[in-house]
Amino acid sequence: MQSLFIINNGGEIIIEKHYRGLMGRAVCDQFWLEVLKCKEPRETKPILSVAKWYLVHVQHNSLFFLAVLQAEAPPLQVIEGLKSVIEVFGHYMTEVTEESIKDQFVPVYQLLDEMFDYGIPFNTYPNSLTSMIGSSSVFKDLLGPGGITSGYDLAELGSGSGGFTPTKGNLGTGMRLTGMGSDTIGSPPVSRTLTGSSGFGSTPTNIGAGNGAGGNMAGVGGSNTVPWRSIEKDHTLNEVYFDIIEEIDCIIGRNGRIVTSELFGTITSDCSLSGTPHLSMFFNNTRAIDSVSFHPCVRLKDWDNSKVINFIPPDGKFTLLDFTVSRSQNIDIPIMITPVLNWNANPPTKEAPIEISGGIGNLQISVGSKAMMKSDLEDVVITLTFPKGISSTSLTPSTGLVTYDEITKILVWKMKTVTREKPPVLSGSIIVPPGSQRIGPTVEVQFTAMKYSAVGLTIDQLVVSEINYKPRKAVRSITKAGRFEV
């Protein structure tokens, strides 16, 4: 990209950064004209061709992140680059807004300088950037007690020239979640050179004396073969948590039969492990996983060869992978919803023949959790959208809270938990005046099922190696409803 502009929702330029010589602001006016042409800003095409420029932009919080290109460049690279700008900014401000960008404009410029060189994205990893570039005025705070120390020597930990195998018991503190034999881990030795040829230890820190940042700066150099992980971190509590989150999109017919169901999964992690830990994750049922997209830290080859996820995690929270579940896989939906609706039609009249004579409908919706659930369903919300033609409803729940909006004709029924012992019921009647068709409501469902996986996906084994401490590891499964309709 030639230049990057950040523009607010009034078309004003907040930040401009030029990578290949200065560019006039007029190009932004051109862009803004295109935005104004659209009914809503979000309808603006992400790639526009204006005069001799190509304009690629993404939007976030009413801000426009605009990249100006003069020649061919892969547009997805530009878009992903802009998205990572937003992501990285998010580590410097609670929310990326005009105000917060102005507040932090000094680090913002430094970041834009560091993330892209000559307009090409290079380092977009929050971990290493936050340790290189401090937040605006409190640069020093970065080096608080127990913050970042640069004393670790990579070579020492890396057992010489590196190369680790997850099976090496002496290196790892492999925790077996099941009795899977270590020799079944068929992954080849992962060769990652941990030479750390420069930087560490040898770098004089006098330059940093003024601001105290020099110490950690040294480790950030390109010498780091793990670019998404800043430097040797030292945590007092060494912990790593994984959440397996499954979201079910599902349409259930009135007879209770599943019409379509799809499942999207995510595994997120919150990691605070010292050193440069190597993690290997094994699943019980990889066949269930259809298409995956992994965080850059994952060794894709190992997954391709032996369905093991080998990675050196970044510090903090990150999404390890997104996946979809193959259609052949059986999805066990943890919730049961059965709406029953019986009509007492009004007698037909001349004006209103039987189809639209109106009447009273007796509605009963029962909710239950299925037998295989170990725990209760949580945060169950059932939304009933009635056709505009109905005149009134009187529905009462056996448990939970019901709100009804007269204008939108939407009824919301919220329950904290749903237990199997006492399945809740919503019952009552709806009245349809003559002249309207007797149609029942559409039913949308939200729920959360903790400690439950709809496809039975679990992590068999998680091995942490290349460390000299015993980490705490924990995994939990959560199943949620995505677009779930009855």
Binding site: K45, A73, P74, P75, S137, D141, G222, D290, H295, P296
Partner: protein, 877 residues
């Protein structure tokens, strides 16, 4: 937690954006001069903030530059930022900072070192660039990879400022060496830099061969996602030598499909798509295609911006390999909250994928879309229904049923669009669905859009014999004839003539009125001419008129969104680029080539101007879809066949022959070419002055080739200031002979005469009739004494036989036969050199390993040998 605390203590830097006090500059200057680091830093921050809001703070340049020698890294970065912004406007002052930069570039801290080199590369002031060379060379060989990778990119920056410098300093070779660096990030950056340079260079500076291929593949596994994108981009240009290689290499990169970064995924698919062309192993192709499906589907579940790019590329993928997404129709159904640009693309894909199997589902969806609020989208959905009907004959009836239901909605724009669509369906299935005409005619009064009106009138004319009140209907239109747009007028006229020819009884008056209106009252020449034509036809012979007007029309088909195969292949090669988003030839995105092929625009312009009744309609199905695309076959400049990527023919870049300094602001680039059997001196004239240039004349000095311009006039009227013109000057060989092999040229402009000279590549004398008959070839070969054979060995990068044959053929060196001797390809070629009209036979043996071609040249005309050798060297290297 740390961040929260930090935020709490954060001072509000945004306040700097609002300070607009008087004497601000003075105050800043004082602070910049302060002894206290903190004061200085705050001052620089204020300066940068002022810069950001568009204030000119360049007067502070000397004061800010003074702060450059700080040991505070943050302050240093801010100063660098400032210098980058203003150096261009203050080149003399910028020199002040050079020493500090050079010093920093030798700093022991690799970060500072890299920062200094990076910033210097961004300053873009020639003088500074000179100082940069030594530090850059050191940094390229630095022990720290962070420094090396930063320096690698810096080479591309310097190239952009002064490419000669990069060449003379040997930076390109160092960059190529970095491809074998131990650090994958350095490799990736070297690839990025070389790719950048290659795109704007006239030479191939970055070739992928088996040697560096493996290095790149190794680095691919270990570098960042961005590095992966660069490397994949470079890999996509590699041509595997045999199918097994292509397969092995596809297997090696396919794991990238599981990356979270969509750019990596799409770049991987690009390489895979290309590799599949090099294998015939159907099983392998099938497995690879199956591997590509899930990642493509995943892209459609990402953010709309990514979806948009993915959809544009998927459009190409489906046209090339429909199997990959055959079973995934549902993914492309529009969601209610998709932005309109995503919806539009999804509709296109739906039509590409629609088949007997999924048509019912698709019709349900489209019907749903036709009831949405966005008019543009609704129209496109209705059109899509029509295109489904035209694509799938078995489903046409069901489509029409849905369209009729839409007419019942009485929503005005839906009805109008539906009628336009039904007209197309009638053109595909004549006389099949006449029963619905009555329903259509009921809506006649509600139509107010010209296109819909014209469509319905066309239907009335076409089916005049079935519509009882056709005459009445047309009469109502004649009343307001003058007010109608010309599109509708033309249709009324034609429909009236058709009606008359089909039902002459009682319609004579009607047709007379129509003809009168068209020929006497109308100002539109098209309408008038058509009126006259009909009139003559009718008065000369009604039978002839019937044959003309009522003839069977050609059926239309739905290929409106199909790209031409050559362009499609080209775009598939360039997937994931801007070209693939716009579906336009990749060359059009390379802006740094100053010479554009001149005839392209003219060609498109001509194509857009056809005005003939039937063609009008045939083109209708194109409206609003893919824009008219160039047909490569028609373009004499465009490369033929698949090797559209070959630069010399598509956009030859000529050397500068006359520098603007020597030509009083006139710059001339040029070279000799053979075009359509004629030798042409192609000249690019650039006017760097502020006044127009006129009266160009050209003369050639006596030369060996007897070349002389056909006319001394240069075919250009005048050259406005700042403009570039490409002018071909036709030459013949009827001039006086001379011994000079370089051609001296004189250009006269206004009252100035400029002299320059150009080498004439001899192959322009190879004529189009140079393909010798096979038997004749053998005979001639034997006739030529063996001892007169001239053998040369030329280093070449053109190692693909078919590509080479194609390439040489374009220069009229024709293949007669080829064979393989000990794994080497041997080609027998012939050409005819005119003058003197002598045959030359050439045997070319390709030695792929040595990257060389051995050429044996035979001819009875001995003096030609040296010229042919010269030409071959030029063509092959």
């Amino acid at each position: 937690k740390g961040f929260k605390q930090r935020r709490a203590r954060m001072s509000k830097d945004s306040k700097y954006f609002t300070t607009t006090k008087k004497g601000e500059i003075h105050e800043l200057r004082r602070d910049l001069d302060s002894q206290k680091e903190n004061v200085k830093k705050e001052a620089v921050k204020k300066v940068i903030a002022a810069m950001t809001v568009g204030k000119d703070v360049s007067v502070l340049f000397p004061d800010v530059v003074k702060c450059i020698r700080t040991t505070n890294l943050e302050l240093k970065k801010l100063v660098y930022l400032y210098v980058m912004n203003y150096a261009k406007s203050q080149p003399d002052l910028a020199i002040l900072s050079v020493n500090a930069f050079v010093q920093d570039a030798q700093h022991p801290n690799p970060l500072i070192k890299a920062l200094a080199v990076r910033t210097m590369g961004c300053i873009r002031v020639d003088k500074i660039t000179e100082y940069l060379c030594q530090p850059l060379r050191d940094c390229l060989k630095d022990s720290d990879p962070y420094v090396r990778k930063t320096a690698a990119v810096c080479v591309a920056k310097v190239w952009d400022i002064n490419s000669e410098l990069v060449e003379t300093q040997g930076f390109l070779d160092i960059l190529r060496d970095l491809l074998g660096d131990s650090n994958p990030m350095v490799v990736a950056n070297a690839v990025a830099a070389l790719t950048e340079i290659d795109e704007t260079s006239t030479r191939d500076v970055f070739k992928i061969n088996t040697a560096n291929l493996n290095k790149l593949l190794t680095a691919l596994d270990d570098c960042t996602e961005w590095g992966q994108v660069f490397i994949l981009h470079a890999l996509s240009k590699y041509t595997p030598t045999k199918p097994s290689e292509a397969e092995g290499y596809a297997d090696r990169i396919s794991p990238r499909l599981a990356h979270a970064n969509s750019a990596v995924v799409l770049s991987t698919i690009r390489v895979l798509m290309r590799l599949l062309d090099f294998t015939d192993n159907q099983n392998f192709v099938k497995t690879m295609c199956a591997k590509m499906t899930p990642p493509l589907v995943t892209l459609i579940q990402k953010e709309p911006e990514i979806q948009y790019v993915a959809l544009r590329n998927i459009n190409l993928i489906i046209q090339k390999r429909p199997k990959i997404l055959q079973g995934e129709m549902k993914v492309f159904f529009c969601k209610y909250n998709d932005p309109i640009y995503v919806k539009m693309e999804k509709l296109e894909i739906m039509i590409l994928l629609v088949s007997e199997r999924n048509i019912d589902q698709v019709l349900m969806e489209l019907k749903e879309y036709a009831t949405e609020v966005d008019i543009e989208f609704v129209r496109k959905a209705v059109r899509a229904l029509g295109r489904c009907a035209i694509k799938l004959e078995s489903a046409a009836e069901r489509c029409i049923q849905v369209l009729l239901e839409l007419i019942q909605t009485k929503v005005n724009y839906v009805v109008q669009e539906t009628i336009i669509v039904i007209k197309d369906i009638f053109r595909k299935y004549p006389r099949k669905y006449e029963v619905i005409i009555a329903t259509l005619c009921q809506n006649l009064d509600t139509l107010d859009e010209p296109e819909a009106k014209a469509a319905l009138i066309w239907i009335i004319g076409e089916y005049a014999e079935r519509i009882e009140n056709a005459d009445e209907l047309l009469e109502t239109f004649l009343v307001n004839f003058q007010e109608e747009p010309s599109m509708v007028q033309l249709q009324i006229l034609t429909a009236a003539v058709k009606l008359f020819l089909k039902r002459p009884k009682n319609t004579q008056k009607l047709v007379q009125t129509a003809l009168d209106l068209a020929t006497k009252e109308a100002g539109n020449p098209d309408l008038r001419d058509r009126g006259f034509v009909y009139w003559r036809l009718l008065s000369a012979s009604p039978e002839a008129a019937k044959q003309v007007v009522l003839s069977e029309k050609p059926l239309i088909s739905d290929d409106s969104n199909r790209l031409e195969p050559a362009l499609l292949d080209d775009l598939i090669k360039h997937m994931s680029t801007l070209a693939s988003v716009y579906h336009k030839p990749p060359e059009s995105f390379v802006v740094k080539y100053t010479k554009k092929v001149p005839t392209m625009d003219q060609l498109t312009a001509q194509r857009g101007n056809r005005a003939d009744e039937e063609v009008d309609y045939a083109d209708d199905s194109n409206v609003g879809q893919v824009p008219q695309l160039l047909n490569f076959g028609d373009d004499p400049f465009a490369p033929r066949g698949n090797d559209a990527g070959n630069r010399p023919s598509s956009a030859p870049v000529y050397p500068v022959l006359l520098q603007p300094g020597d030509g009083k602001g006139l710059e001339i680039r040029g070279g000799f070419e053979r075009q359509n059997g004629q030798i042409v001196f192609n000249m690019t004239l650039v006017n760097h002055t502020a006044v127009p240039m006129q009266q160009f004349l050209i003369q050639l000095n006596k030369n060996l080739y007897r070349l002389k311009p056909v006319s001394p006039q240069v075919p250009i009227q005048s050259l406005p200031p700042g403009q570039t013109a490409v002018v071909p000057v036709a030459l013949n060989n009827q001039g006086e002979p001379d011994a000079s092999t370089t051609v001296q040229i004189a250009i006269k402009k206004d009252d100035d005469v400029f002299y320059f000279s150009s080498d004439c590549p001899v192959y322009v004398f190879w004529t189009e009739d140079g393909r010798m008959e096979k038997g004749e070839y053998l005979k001639t070969w034997r006739e030529i004494p063996d001892n007169t054979e001239h053998v040369v060995k030329v280093q070449t990068a053109r190692l693909d036989v078919d590509e080479l044959i194609n390439y040489l053929g374009r220069f009229n060196l024709f293949l007669i036969a080829k064979r393989t001797v000990e794994d080497n390809d041997v080609m027998y070629l012939s050409c005819k050199v005119t003058p003197p009209g002598a045959w030359v036979l050439v045997e070319v043996t390709l030695h792929a390993q040595e990257r060389a071609a051995k050429c044996c040249i035979r001819t009875l005309n001995q003096p030609l040998l040296a010229f042919v050798e010269f030409a071959l060297r030029k063509l092959l290297s």
